[in-house]
């Protein structure tokens, strides 16, 4: 029987699951017109989980026979994921009402998905990691197809489901092989088996390769990025915002934990895999984004490129790199959600207005909204004083520190290429004549709040990155086995 301390260590996931179930029950019990409070309840649940994450950080350590471990990394990602969930729910409330979508199950699915992601962040056992990944993924498959009447959304869900299932199968196969090689699914035990020389050879290599494929799919890193634009384009915009930040951050948390804690001695083999994948992701993402006319596809390709930047930090294989990756994911979460929230607000009922050209003259028609989108885009470019800049700065610093000078130079040149397509959106907003046939709804308070929080966080990380980076550095230092 687990004692209280152990329960506290999975408190956020418990809270999220309980509230998720509660939401489904309440959804069935309330009338059609009175469902507004469900969103507020979801917000309260995420807030409670956030508090829970902080409480459980007060009692760090392992629990459930070493299946989970509450440490800096877990807490960092739990807090980040809760923030992502909170902003997603905040921006979804008016979206769901506008399009007349069922609310209860939507929020419940978000909560379950968050629970899965939280589990991914805390697990130190491959089986539990797999479980967390599946909980998170299955909820998001449904969320991607939430616009049932829309063919694109159905296509998106189907594509995400099939390819996602393949990827998890690869991952599971990797887990099985790793178990075969090392004789355990505990990360620490795997590490000591490799360090002690009991595990190695082609079996280990194949296991690492399969794990990489599974995770690379989840973070949409090249060459496993194909699904991303179609899925993001078809999914409801708030869901696309969520997909590009929450599950991605959690998958990167697993990446960090598995590769740093279990496989640090697995040699330079995966360094080159990461090197190539990082460069491919950045280059493919950015070059493809140059040609996009649909803003959701544009942001989807940009998210592939950003996954590439994070992989640059991974390729450095140092705690500095891990900390840089963590910081970047936080900065990326806020700027990307911010951008997607603007997109989702402007898209209008049934997401009719998602072409870049629909933004013509937005600077004159909605100066504040345009200014906010500009801030997020400048942050995505990596202009100083925004979180995106420090994120890139830390990543490329880690790369140069890790002697990956050419990767850093190529990555930085990539950011210059990327500037073009983000700027194109700004050009359309400020330098083209307004199109009057695109209707502009007033900004609902919840959306405004989500935007302001994202913008504030983007500036905070751009002006005072010290505290967040400091926490990330301390957490990353603990990842490597001693």
């Amino acid at each position: 029987m687990p004692d209280n301390a152990q329960i506290v260590r999975v408190l956020p996931e418990v809270l999220l699951s309980v509230f998720g179930t509660l939401l489904m029950v309440l959804d069935a019990l309330t009338g059609r017109r009175r469902k507004g409070f469900l969103g507020l309840l979801a917000l309260a649940a995420i807030y409670a989980a956030w508090i829970g994450a902080l409480i459980s950080y007060g009692k760090p350590g392992a629990a459930f026979y070493g299946m989970v471990a509450v440490d800096g990394l877990a807490t960092f990602f739990r807090v980040l994921i809760c923030a992502v969930g909170f902003l997603t729910v905040l921006s979804s409330m008016s979206y769901l009402q506008r399009d007349g979508l069922p609310q209860g199950e939507y929020y419940a699915l978000i909560l379950f998905s968050l629970a899965g992601q939280g589990l991914m962040a805390v697990s130190t056992d491959l089986i539990l990691i797999f479980l967390g990944l599946e909980i998170s993924s299955i909820s998001t498959y449904i969320l991607a197809g939430f616009l049932r009447q829309d063919g694109r959304s159905t296509e998106s869900a189907l594509k995400y489901f099939f390819l996602g299932s393949f990827a998890t199968a690869f991952l599971l196969y990797g887990v099985a092989l790793l178990y075969g090689a090392a004789g355990s699914t505990r990360l620490a035990a795997i590490q000591s088996a490799i360090a002690g020389g009991q595990a190695g050879g082609p079996l280990l290599g194949a296991a690492i390769g399969l794990l990489f494929v599974g995770l690379a799919f989840k973070v949409s890193a090249a060459p496993f990025q194909m699904w991303t634009p179609d899925v993001y384009q078809g999914a409801p915009s708030p869901v696309a915002a969520f997909l590009s930040t929450g599950p991605k951050a959690a998958a990167f948390a697993v990446f960090l934990r598995v590769f740093f804690t279990a496989l640090p001695d697995a040699g330079p083999a995966w360094r080159w895999v990461l090197w190539v994948s990082a460069l491919l992701s950045m280059t493919i993402g950015n070059l493809a984004a140059l040609r996009q006319t649909n803003i959701k596809r544009l942001l989807a390709y940009s998210s592939i490129a950003h996954a590439g930047y994070v992989l640059v930090a991974f390729a450095a294989r140092t705690p500095i790199g891990a900390a840089a990756a963590m910081f970047y994911l936080a900065a990326y979460a806020f700027m990307n959600i911010g951008a997607f929230v603007v997109v989702s607000h402007l898209a209008g009922r049934g997401e009719q207005y998602v072409e870049v050209d629909d933004y013509a003259g937005l600077g004159a028609r909605r100066p504040i909204l345009a200014a906010l989108l500009t801030i997020f885009l400048l942050s995505l470019i990596g202009i100083p004083l925004t979180g995106g800049f420090f994120g890139k700065f830390y990543i490329f610093r880690a790369a140069i520190h890790g002697e990956l000078i050419w990767l850093a130079v190529l990555g930085l040149l990539n950011t210059a290429v990327a500037a073009y397509y983000y700027l194109r959106v700004i050009v359309v907003m400020y330098m083209r004549e307004p199109q009057t046939d695109v209707p502009l709804d007033p900004l609902p308070a919840s959306v405004a709040a989500a935007l302001l929080v994202s913008a504030a966080a983007t500036f905070y990380l751009g002006l005072f990155p010290g505290r967040v980076l400091d926490f990330a550095s301390r957490s990353a230092a603990l990842l490597l086995p001693r």
Binding site: G363, L378, F393, R397, I400, L412, A416, Y420, L423, G466
Partner: protein
């Protein structure tokens, strides 16, 4: 010491904040607020004149900003940056005046961006931490991008995009170099880096030094712009609104030259020496090529833009002559070019406001309806062409003298540029201001209004002052350039004999 540099940096930002709070429709109030804050910044920056002529940095403020990596808010001025800061604060009110009537849409945003740009430009010249320098360097990019893209002429979007991407491509390489330097030496602090490298506590292999130099130099050379990286400049200048052109030519180009003098030479002396012949050659090509293009240029603004390519060639040549006179002349020429080319763009902008055309062929005999404008234009042209007693003469003379010490052939080739400058500028004056006055011009063009005089006269005064009392400037410039050159020497002498 009072935190003077903080005040100078923050005043324009305060203006920016104030503008955001003002009502959108009250254009008059917005213009006066912008003018007030830019003048206040200028007034505050005049305290910098109390800086003594010493070799080190003055008015330093050095505070931690981020702990890891150690990034410090470290600012200060010396005999070079002091004048460049004053150039910025002097020209911003003039840019505000130049936009007074010219800008009539989105007035609030325009002046707000202008003030952000001012902070960015000042920041570039006072930052002593490489990271901070990079931040300011990039911060200038965004407002200028908007100034060109939103308030520019026909092909503004193309020009704004080109400006942004060219600069960004250069500056990301600089960022890589800054990070690499940090990795090697463990600090972003410029004075610390300089002494670490000079004393040999941090060493670079020749290959490393060459790559680092190249990365920094490329970013600066794009900004200057050095031939053949200049192609963004005519587009950006022609399409930008007047205030944008003034600040672009007068200040943003100087950021490149300043960067070479401040960072490339002291940090990478061997690479600087090694590549100097090639760089000087490119500078001379730029001088002559720019001047030749000016001779066949039908568009006034483009003509002034290409004259910048030519004039900036002198600056680069002076810097890479590695002589005291050459360096002094280069710095002086940076200021001169800021004043005279700023004035040329201002006057061309005033002509455009009247005649709605930039084509030389559309004008003629403007001196008859607008004698004041013609007089101001003539003085500015003569200054730009290097007439004695006016400012450019001093700078060009010093550069040529310095270059001649090293290579007479270089000096002779560069002197061709001076001759051509007189030709194309006076010919421009003749075609636009003299001769018969066409009907359209006579009806449209009026003489300068008091507000316009207020913008022009300070520039004319400075041209004369800097031409006559150059000593008051050069004393402090020399003190600093001498230090820079010493650093260049020190390092070479530290080397074993075979590597010298």
């Amino acid at each position: 010491m009072p935190p003077l540099l903080n005040i100078v940096l923050l005043l324009p930002l305060a203006g920016f904040a104030a503008l955001l709070l003002l009502p959108r429709r009250d254009h008059r109030l917005i213009r006066f607020t912008a003018l007030f804050f830019s003048l206040a910044t200028f007034a505050a920056s005049l305290w910098l004149l109390r800086t003594p002529a010493a070799s080190g940095f003055q008015w330093e403020i050095n505070r931690p900003w981020i702990d890891d990596p150690a990034i410090r808010y470290h600012v200060g001025v010396d005999g070079i940056s002091l004048w460049l800061v004053l150039l910025v604060t002097f020209l911003t009110p003039i840019a505000v005046l130049a936009s007074w009537r010219h800008i009539d849409s989105r007035v609030k945003e325009f002046f707000a961006l202008l003030l952000v740009l001012e902070t960015g430009m000042i920041g570039v010249f006072v930052a002593l931490d490489l990271f901070l320098f990079y931040v300011f360097w990039e911060v200038t990019l965004v407002p200028m991008y908007f100034l060109i893209g939103v308030w520019g002429h026909q092909r503004r979007i193309y020009a704004a995009m080109k400006f942004f991407l060219y600069t960004m491509a250069g500056s990301v390489l600089m960022l890589a170099a800054i990070l690499w330097l940090y990795n090697l030496a463990g600090t972003f602090d410029f004075p610390a880096l300089r002494s670490l490298l000079a004393s040999g506590q941090a060493t670079l292999t020749p290959a490393q030094e060459l790559l680092l130099f190249a990365a920094f130099f490329l970013a600066f050379a794009i900004k200057v712009p050095l031939f053949p990286l200049h192609t963004w400049l005519p587009d950006a200048h022609v399409e930008a609104p007047t205030a944008g052109s003034i600040l672009l030519a007068a200040v943003l180009l100087k950021m490149g030259a300043y960067g070479m003098l401040r960072f490339c030479l002291p940090l990478f002396p061997q690479a600087s020496r090694g590549l100097a012949p090639a760089i000087c050659l490119l500078a001379i090509i730029g001088i002559v090529y720019g001047a030749l293009v000016c001779l066949v240029q039908p568009n006034m603004k483009k003509l002034v833009a290409y004259s910048s390519v030519s004039h900036l060639g002198f600056v680069v040549l002076g810097i890479f002559s590695f002589t005291q006179l050459g360096a002094d002349g280069a710095v002086y020429q940076m200021l001169n070019h800021g004043i005279t080319t700023g004035a040329l763009f201002l006057l061309v902008g005033m002509l455009y406001e009247r005649g709605h055309s930039l084509d030389i062929a559309d004008y003629g005999g403007v001196a008859t309806p607008a004698p004041g404008l013609a007089a101001a234009f003539l003085i500015t042209s003569l200054a730009s062409a290097g007439l004695p007693l006016l400012n450019n003469f001093v700078g060009e003379f010093l550069v040529l003298q310095g270059v001649a010490e090293v290579s007479f052939r270089y000096a002779a080739a560069a002197a061709v540029g001076v001759v051509l400058a007189a030709w194309y500028l006076l010919w421009l004056f003749q075609r636009v201001f003299l001769g018969e006055t066409p009907e359209a011009v006579a009806s449209q063009v009026s003489d300068l209004r008091p507000r316009e005089w207020a913008a022009v006269v300070p520039l004319l005064v400075m041209m004369l002052w800097m031409g006559v009392y150059s000593r008051s400037f050069l004393e402090r410039i020399s003190a600093t350039t001498a230090t820079t050159l010493t650093h260049l020497e020190l390092r070479v002498e530290n080397l074993p004999p075979h590597a010298r």
